[in-house]
């Protein structure tokens, strides 16, 4: 395949990753990395570096829309970013020392874990509503609980953030994987916020999208300084992703929360299955 064809294919893939990434609250790295290693035959480290650029583009493009339209919980994002940026630094330094085989294995395990956690019940309107009872003292002190505006039914939903400490811990782990694998870590953050912290699905997607850019920026600069960022690939990814987030964020805002959540569960299950099959038949997951 000549270079020009590869660049055009990459831009198209980045567009699709941008649509999916902004709809699901993830960076799209889980789509872009396998595409680059399998279809374009790039080395995993170049693919990771390029994917991190795509993650920042997805985050900046989609999050700007979600922040403007009051879907993002900014305080929750700032709180969890403390954990995820620390994790990302550790992950990025660690990642460059680890053999590629272990990168593959880690990636597979992360995907399987997230698939099992998320493919469960669909979100109901009741789950979006405010619950009575004791609010976690930390959530209260930090004012984490919030409201979001749902365009689907024109409703304003007040919600409470539960288990902030556990969410903080999971974000740190998500940050490590982000640095290690060149992904946004959204597929860990969205289930963590939605299922563990009980944040409504659409607010979780928007908040995750907002956070992944910061986490990825920390890792991306390290990969850039290692000379692993190819500016041509980076440019195609940025242009493709940015266009894709226009479509994806619009679709997500209009969608039913239960559909977004169901799409997310499908995405995780598909990802997990694909990895099992590849591991079983070829010994490499990607």
């Amino acid at each position: 395949m000549d270079l020009l064809t590869a660049l055009v294919l990459l831009a198209v893939a980045a567009f699709l990753a941008g649509v999916a990434g902004s709809y699901l609250g993830i960076g799209g790295g889980v789509f872009l990395i396998p595409f680059m290693t399998l279809a374009l035959g790039l080395s995993i480290k170049i693919a990771i570096a390029t994917s991190l650029i795509g993650v920042i583009a997805t985050s900046s493009g989609a999050a700007s829309v979600y922040v403007r339209d009051h879907l993002t919980n900014l305080r929750l994002a700032m709180f969890l970013e403390v954990a995820s940026t620390l994790g990302a630094i550790l992950g990025a330094f660690f990642g460059l020392l680890v053999p590629e085989f272990y990168l593959y294995i880690t990636f597979g395990l992360v995907v399987l874990y997230a698939a099992a956690t998320m493919a469960r019940v669909r979100e109901t309107a009741r789950q979006r509503a405010y619950r009575t009872g004791e609010e976690s003292p930390l959530s209260k002190r930090l004012g984490l609980s919030s409201v979001y505006f749902d365009q689907e039914d024109q409703g304003v939903y007040r919600y409470r953030v539960e288990r902030p400490v556990a969410g903080f811990g999971v974000s740190a782990v998500a940050g490590v994987f982000s640095g290690l694998l060149g992904i946004g870590g959204g597929f860990i953050k969205v289930p963590a916020m939605n299922m563990l912290m009980r944040v409504p699905m659409k607010a979780a997607v928007a908040t995750s999208n907002f956070m992944i850019g910061v986490t990825a920026a920390a890792s991306a600069s390290i990969y850039y300084s290692e000379g692993l960022v190819n500016p041509s690939y980076g440019a195609m990814v940025i242009i493709g992703v940015f266009t894709g987030t226009y479509l994806g964020s619009h679709l997500m805002e209009k969608a039913k929360a239960s559909n977004v959540r169901f799409a997310f569960a499908l995405f995780l299950a598909g990802l997990g299955l694909a990895m099992i099959v590849r591991l079983a038949f070829t010994g490499v997951p990607l």
Binding site: L3, L7, I53, I56, A57, S59, S60, G61, A63, S64, V65, V67, R68, H70, L74, R75, M78, F79, E81, V82, T85, L86, A88, I89, A92, R141, L142, G213, V214, A216, A217, A218, S219, A220, S221, I222, Y224, S225, G227, V229, N230, P231, S232, G234, A235, I238, I239, F242
Partner: protein
Amino acid sequence: MIGARSGLRLVQDRIATLRRAVVTEVEDRNRLIYHVLRGGVVISVGVLLFGFVLLAATGGEVPDHSIAPRSLIGQLSRFSPDGYLSLGVLVLIFTPVVRVFLSVLSFIDERDSKYALMTAIVLVNLITSLLVLA
């Protein structure tokens, strides 16, 4: 003499003013973040497109490695396509950093010390990883 009804209206007006102030404050922070994120990507895409135009004009090779920040200025002044493509990528990498920096300022401005501190920690983490660049 102020009647009960006009007194009630005064209180209602006062509450409405306060509510508007709160909404505006949140609104301002949201707008600022929106403009920084959107602006960063738009500038990045603009610089990248300019790089591709230069590439087409000079008929050079598509670059396969990034330019280190310290040699970037020289490349830019010579209108090298490689330099502009690298700059576009760097602008994008820096967009979330600028967003975090402005968030620190906005929390300080609101005298929200807890969140100013948290955001400052995030900024320190980011700068730690950016220092590797230098």
